[in-house]
Amino acid sequence: MSAPITVTERNFDELVLGSEIPVLVDFWAVWCGPCRAVAPVLDEIAQEYDGQVLVAKVNVDEEPGLAAKFKITSIPTMKIFVSGREEKNLVGAMPKVAIEQKFKEYLA
């Protein structure tokens, strides 16, 4: 069983950019209703795609540097990184199938 990991400015490069599998990064905050709504969906994805997709979470309150670096102005924002490159930018909470469609093409 796999759960989403929490990433910080310190380990972002190593865990996200250095990952061998695609990474779905979720920028979120506790005060954001839609972020809370999409959290269980991300838990499910982390579990179902264990070993295929890494789900990483960035708390924008605690990581303002990362939020600024990626010019986040809306949350939840989800980004898909493949081999260290940002491939997709998803804005807003969306159903599981919609998120799956965005990363399916990158699965091995």
Binding site: A29, W31, C32, G33, P34, C35, A37, V38, P40, V41, V60, D61, A67, K71, I72, T73, S74, I75, P76, T77, N89, V91, G92, A93, M94, P95, K96, V97
Partner: protein, 308 residues
Amino acid sequence: MHQILIIGSGPAGFSAAIYAARAGLKPILFASSVEPGGELMNTTEVENFPGFPDGIQGPDLMAKMQEQAEKFGTEVKYEDVSEVELLGDVKKVMVTSGQTYEAKSVIFATGSAYKKLGLPAEERLSGHGISWCATCDGFFFKEKTIAVVGGGDSAMEEATFLTRFASKVYVIHRRDTLRASKIMQQRAFDNPKIEFIFDSEVADIAGSDSVTGLTLRNLKTGETSELEVQGIFVAIGTDPRTRLVHNQLELTAEGTIAVQDQSSKTSAKGVFAAGDVIDSVYRQAIVAAGAGAKAALDAEHFLASLED
């Protein structure tokens, strides 16, 4: 087969569920996977819902409604409805995970979705300075200059809320009077960070990778002007969510689901509707809650008539 399926989890859906559950109808309520709780989930303080003299946070109010609905036996499914079949005696509701639910009656309480401005730049800059949720995104505009588009209660609430973060908030409205309630208007007028730009619409949004400014068009003079902002919050109203029922239920000229007289009865037997999906005028939580109660009572009556 189920007695009753309820689609939607705002005040209309949960009020319908409370009534239907208390009537012993064991309702199933589809709350969607990522938008359970409906529109109040994105608001802060709700001050006009009776019974809460000190106000209540929108998400807390919805949690209480859900708790009350579940207490009497409502089953809440966090599923997205993909398709419905409403015209036969057996109503079918399909969810995206592949399951089909069958019931004798259905209540539609799908609410409404935020309207977009309809500008080409909107899609590209969405999440890069264009937002529909002040409570989610206000945080990112600390000491920035932003604009709120709209003249209703939501626009006033957002503008007032955003002054906690922004150094300046422009409210851009198509007319020279506001639709918002007096108390909300006054709060915005009294706020020194808020400035109103009347009789104007957003003609274009500038910015390559994030919003840098707006082109405004004065609707009385036709003149255009530029306004430098780093963010824009859109609160120009909503459209009823009727995509699922377009070919099956009669709609009104306003695009809402048509109901008969004072009732919640739609054009299909055994199908009822409540909340913002039937209401383009009032659009209030308390009105939606009342409509939800009516829909459950109408459904209960309909189900009883099937037994005769």
